[in-house]
């Protein structure tokens, strides 16, 4: 099946499409067939993604020159046709996306996909959108894939009834529609000035522009950037995020974690391909930095204010977006590898965390338990151990309560999630933040921004501990009125696997980071990317297709 290998780059897009479309033919009662198709497709995508990842490493130099694979759709070479480009970054993102998707899919089979809607089809389309957005080398095609993943997200978000869900869904759609218009205007303007849509081709075209034209081009890029920032969930364009994500069912929220990162990816990809103008790059950098910091701060505050776990996790997504944007905004190339590391970890983290919320939801306490956290503690608390208080030890029996195995498992996962979100060692959240800080401090001499970022990273981590313990203790450490959730193997397995994966990443940080460094290097040397895209492909004539 050499030819299948040759078509590997398009597999992560075509497989979900086929699966999603085929499943529409099934009756509502044919659940097992649907599940089989969905799982087969998802695992096939994961396999393809891992193969792509492997081909971009130095381990397989014979497959693609410089580790960058280009697949011309329809046999039309860039810049005329649409090309899929597999470089380290995109392969990494696809692998990440499919990993989370596979986990959430398995998870959802436990019980979440039940209410008859075409859940599995839409989920496949979501995967198609995400993978396509990561793989495409064409700006307008990126728009199309954005729309696919958005449409899928609308569908998944609006599952189930309820005023709240519909209201927030409406807000989500409205904001994304607005950003869709911005996207279109930005892309159009870029095409209008530079005359091309291929991202690699743009780099060359931009260099030839007169200053006035360049400014108009930059305007297009700026408008496009705003659209990306909306997707990335950056403040103040992200009010929808902490409202929309928590209302989705747990596996869907988990799968959504990757969507904000699509925005970040777009910023990174388009930014590095267009950022040859130093002045513009510096300006862009500062704007990004400040927006990132604002996002970081806002997300941190939101996290502290969250009374529900899902909302908290949503805010942690915002925090991670802010952190990524701010770090990218500093314009320090050495930071890119840690940024990628952090990105990967945060996607896995939020995915796991959201799935966990689905499993603990039914263990949740009634709301009265919340009040104690918001109200100041009652006066006797201040004099604990003082005379005014009756012996606190006479009443309670000092015999521990055995945690049911389910609760213990969930508690363990919860602690892992907290450690990941807060960046506590030894999980990779710490490794990522350490690498970020360690690199950033190398540039801190006379650069206040670095200190701001460092403070932001640490404060947000601390806030995560503060907020998660507040909620987590209520979830796991309250005995009154708790019902122990039933642990389903299909839910536990993917969650545990993701946690194990993070542990693995942490243990193998050295080699993982080496890959990210290579990805960062090629990202900052767009020439290789451009060479790969614009050079003639095998089986594709430079001017057209082979006949």
């Amino acid at each position: 099946m050499n030819s299948l290998m040759q078509h590997l780059p398009v597999m992560p897009i075509i497989l979900p499409l086929l699966a999603g479309a085929a499943m529409l033919l099934l009756q509502e009662s044919q659940r097992s067939a649907r599940v089989t198709i969905a799982l087969t497709s998802a695992f096939a995508q994961l396999t393809a993604a891992i193969a792509l990842l492997y081909f971009t490493t130095d381990a397989a130099p014979q497959v693609w020159p410089e580790g960058i694979g280009v697949y011309s759709i329809g046999g039309w070479a860039a810049p005329f046709g649409i090309v899929l480009v597999v470089d380290r970054l995109s392969a990494l993102m696809v692998a990440l996306g499919t990993t989370v998707a596979v986990a959430t899919l398995v998870y959802s089979i436990a019980r979440w996909d039940r209410p008859g809607q075409p859940f599995h089809s839409v989920f496949q389309f979501l995967m198609m959108g995400v993978n396509g957005a990561f793989l495409t080398g064409d700006l307008f095609n990126l728009f199309v894939f954005f729309e696919i993943l958005l449409a899928a997200s609308y569908a998944l978000l609006l599952r189930g009834v309820g005023t709240r869900r519909v209201r927030r869904g409406l807000h989500y759609i409205a904001v994304n529609l607005a950003s869709t218009f911005l996207f279109l205007i930005g892309v159009a303007l870029i095409y209008g000035v530079a005359g091309t849509l291929n991202m690699a081709d743009l780099t060359g075209k931009v260099a030839e522009l007169s200053p006035a034209d360049r400014s108009l081009f930059d305007t297009g890029a700026a408008i496009l950037g705003v659209a990306f920032l909306v997707k990335a969930g950056s403040w103040p364009l992200n009010f929808w995020l902490p409202r929309a994500y928590p209302i989705a069912i747990a596996p869907v929220s988990a799968a959504f974690g990757i969507m904000t990162k699509v925005g970040i990816y777009a910023v990174l990809r388009v930014g590095t391909l267009m950022g040859d103008d130093d002045v513009a790059a510096a300006l862009l950098g500062w704007i990004l930095f400040y927006i990132g910091m604002a996002t970081l701060v806002a997300g941190t505050i939101g996290m502290l204010a969250s009374l529900h776990l899902k909302r908290l996790v949503s805010h942690s997504i915002i925090v991670s977006s802010g952190l990524l944007l701010a770090a990218l905004g500093l314009g320090i190339e050495a930071l890119t590898a840690p940024v990628l590391f952090y990105l990967v970890v945060s996607v896995l983290t939020t995915g796991t965390f959201f799935m966990l919320t689905g499993m603990t939801d039914r263990a949740r306490l009634p709301l009265f338990a919340l009040r104690e956290e918001v109200e100041p503690p009652p006066a006797p608390f201040y004099t604990a151990f003082g005379v005014a208080e009756i012996d606190p030890y006479g009443v309670d029996e000092e015999v521990g309560t055995a945690l049911p195995a389910a609760m213990a498992f969930l508690g363990f996962i919860f602690v892992c999630c907290v450690m990941l979100v807060a960046g506590l060692p030894p999980l990779p959240g710490f490794v990522a933040k350490f690498a970020l800080l360690s690199t950033a401090l190398g540039f801190a001499e006379g650069n206040g921004a670095i200190w701001g970022l460092a403070a932001g990273i640490l404060v947000s981590g601390f806030a995560a501990v503060f907020a998660t313990t507040r909620i987590g203790m209520r979830l796991f450490w309250t005995t009154v009125g708790r019902r122990t959730p039933r642990l389903r193997i299909l839910e536990a397995l993917p969650v545990a696997s993701l946690v194990l994966l993070t542990l693995g990443i942490s243990a193998a940080s050295g080699s993982v980071m080496t890959y990210f460094e290579a990805a960062a290097d090629s990202l900052h040397d767009p020439q290789a990317y451009i060479r790969a895209v614009l050079s003639p492909q095998e089986g594709v004539e430079p001017g057209g297709r082979e006949r």
């Binding site: 199309v144 009834v161 005023t163 519909v166 209201r167 807000h171 759609i173 218009f181 095409y191």
Partner: protein, 114 residues
């Protein structure tokens, strides 16, 4: 002509944005439609204005690009129109569902001040 064309886009966009900022869902729906007209015209305009040059090859060897309007933005607009249509439809249904559930056509699902 360019001035006129730009003005047309501007008016559509301005009306669209005005509606987009209104509090009623139906206003938003119309605003989205108007904005998509404006956006489509904008994209289309990026191919510059060409009258009487439809990009359809009538004689086989007439392959000079100057004979035709730029076909690329047209193709982009087509995709944009279709996607715009789809999202408008979706927005409409969500709007109806919200009206049904919340009893008001305010975008926030509740009347201000209530």
């Amino acid at each position: 002509m360019e001035v006129l064309y730009s003005l047309a886009i501007g008016i559509l966009a301005g009306s669209g944005v005005w509606l987009l900022l209104r509090p009623r869902t139906f206003q938003l729906l119309l605003g989205i439609s108007l904005l998509s007209y404006a956006t489509n015209l904008f994209i289309f305009g990026m191919g510059r204005l060409a009258t009487y040059k439809p990009p359809i090859i009538t004689t086989d060897n007439a392959t000079d690009a100057a004979l035709y309007a730029d076909p690329v933005p047209q193709a982009l607009v087509l995709t944009a129109i279709v996607i715009g249509f789809a999202t408008t439809a979706l927005f409409l249904v969500v709007l109806l569902a919200l009206r049904g559930l919340s009893g008001t056509d305010h975008v926030d699902g509740r009347e201000p001040g209530s």
